[in-house]
């Protein structure tokens, strides 16, 4: 199809800031091309440890509790495989990223979706969580700021579920890859909640914050026992994350703060404009407080999310992702990424309005 505007993307539309690229290219020219220690380059872990402490009040030891992974994807996989035994159940807050369930299945576990609803601003509530926990539940996977809903969990929200997590002795796997893309107030890292620190595996990365998706660089932070277990798998299946990516990541923390803030600021402006536009044309949309997705409801149109998405693409050439793809709680919604230029967002809104008026 020609002239399609895709709001179905899951990555930034920016290039990686040049200073990051330049330092990585230079390091390759200098011959930095061999394996790094399994956990990742020492300077990167140390700088990152300092950054996490200053930015999120997260304190992790560079030597014992941090692993640089090949994207958050790898961090997720080794975290699950370190913790889940065949037959274990893993509660997964949904709507959520499409990989969580399959990774649990691949590890021999059983994914148990825990729905999050619009009336709760798509946050995970203790009531909904309690309902889905059984004797067999080993872990809980959450992702805030959330893909696809853009929801965030504040310290109060996290404290509310902390008791269940500790009572049932669960491991909490907290995917915080969109942490830097938080627009109202500061991001609260799950591991900063006292009772959760000893049982949380924190996952984060550079892909979304610094537009480094293709570089494949993430990090896993957890108390020594959990981190060692993940490291065991990592050293056998990955050995180490790409060295040129690690060099780029180090440069990112050191010198790309302004560029990162500019990108986040741009997402925020786009969010305001796009969400206001969606509400204006009749697709009621809660204000997403993080990530770069709007999650409007299509209930007012009488179409299902899948029908709406298919017909919108055919009739008007705008691609969105039906919310049901992301699990319970996502039906009747669409995931629309605003990691797209303002011009295209404007144009997409115009086309969507035309489509809705024609229904």
């Amino acid at each position: 199809m020609e002239n399609v505007i895709s709001l179905g993307v899951g990555e930034p539309d920016f290039r990686t800031p040049w200073n990051i690229c330049e330092s990585s290219i230079y390091s390759v020219e200098q011959g930095t091309t061999s394996y790094t220690p399994n956990r990742g380059l020492q300077p990167l872990r140390e700088t990152l440890s300092g950054y996490l402490a200053q930015r999120y009040n997260l304190r992790y030891s560079a030597n014992d509790e941090m692993i640089i992974t090949t994207g958050v994807s790898e961090g997720l996989d080794i975290a699950i495989r370190a913790v889940v035994d065949p037959g274990d159940e893993v509660a997964i807050a949904q709507p959520g990223y499409v990989s969580y369930g399959p990774c649990v299945t691949l590890a021999g576990g059983k994914p148990v979706p825990v729905p999050c609803y619009e009336e709760d601003h798509f946050k995970l509530t203790p009531e909904n969580l309690q309902e889905k926990i059984s004797r067999k539940t080993k872990a809980l996977i959450i992702n805030f700021p959330n893909n696809p809903t853009g929801a965030v969990m504040t310290a109060a929200d996290l404290k509310a579920i902390a008791d269940i997590v500790t009572d049932r002795d669960l491991v909490l796997i907290s995917d915080e890859v969109y942490a830097e893309l938080t627009y109202e107030g500061a991001h609260c890292a799950a591991a900063t909640i006292g009772s959760l620190r000893e049982r949380t595996i924190t996952l984060n990365g550079f892909s979304k914050a610094y537009a480094m998706t293709g570089w494949r660089i993430g990090y896993l932070c957890a108390p020594k026992e959990l981190s060692d277990a993940a490291l065991k798998i990592h050293q056998y299946v990955m050995l180490c994350a790409p060295v040129m990516g690690q060099v780029g990541a180090l440069e990112a923390i050191r010198s790309a703060e302004d560029e990162k803030n500019d990108m986040v600021n741009e997402y925020r402006l786009r969010r305001n404009m796009f969400v206001a536009g969606l509400n204006r044309i009749g697709l009621i949309c809660h204000v997403p407080e993080g990530a770069f997705y709007a999650f409007p409801s299509v209930k007012s149109t009488g179409l299902s999310d899948v029908e709406f998405a298919e017909r919108l693409l055919k009739d008007q050439g705008v691609a969105v992702v039906p919310g049901s793809v992301f699990g319970p709680g996502g039906e009747d919604h669409l995931r629309c990424a605003y990691a797209v230029s303002r011009r295209e967002l404007s144009e997409a809104l115009g086309r969507m309005e035309t489509f809705i008026q024609g229904l």
């Binding site: 399609v4 895709s6 179905g8 993307v9 899951g10 990555e11 539309d13 290039r15 990223y97 499409v98 990989s99 893909n147 600021n265 402006l269 786009r270 305001n272 404009m273 206001a276 536009g277 691609a319 992702v321 404007s346």
Partner: protein, 163 residues
Amino acid sequence: MDEKDVDILRILEENSRLSVEEIASMVSIDASDVQERIRALESAQVIRGYKTAINWERAGNGEVSAIIELKVNPERDYGYDRIAERLSRFKQVRTLRLMTGTYDLQLLVTGKNMQEVSRFVSKHVAPMDRIRETATHIIMKSYKENGNTLFEQQEPERLPYSF
């Protein structure tokens, strides 16, 4: 000035043709509020004008520019100000700055062709009182002006769908 004003300034700096309503939706305030703020910024001379960036060469109306550096004897009581202000009045002088280093004043002079530029320098600039020396550097090609790159950058390829 607050955060919303800074947002508005950044938005206008990139594209001054956006409507007040469009700006309002980006900054999450009323259109009338945006209008008020812009008026205030204009009267405070924070916003100094709205200009359009044109590639005159593409328009078929190519120009030639040169950077002229001047060694100037400063005046008692006035320093370089009066000479600089006098030179600034010429339309051909697009920018004029006082610099550290070997030379004192740096000008960007623009004309229709090289002859026009050199005629301007030799007739109006060099003979001026208090100017000791001039150095002229003709600009052969511009790659970036005022934060805008002028060469074609390839759009990075992105998968249309990714989760």
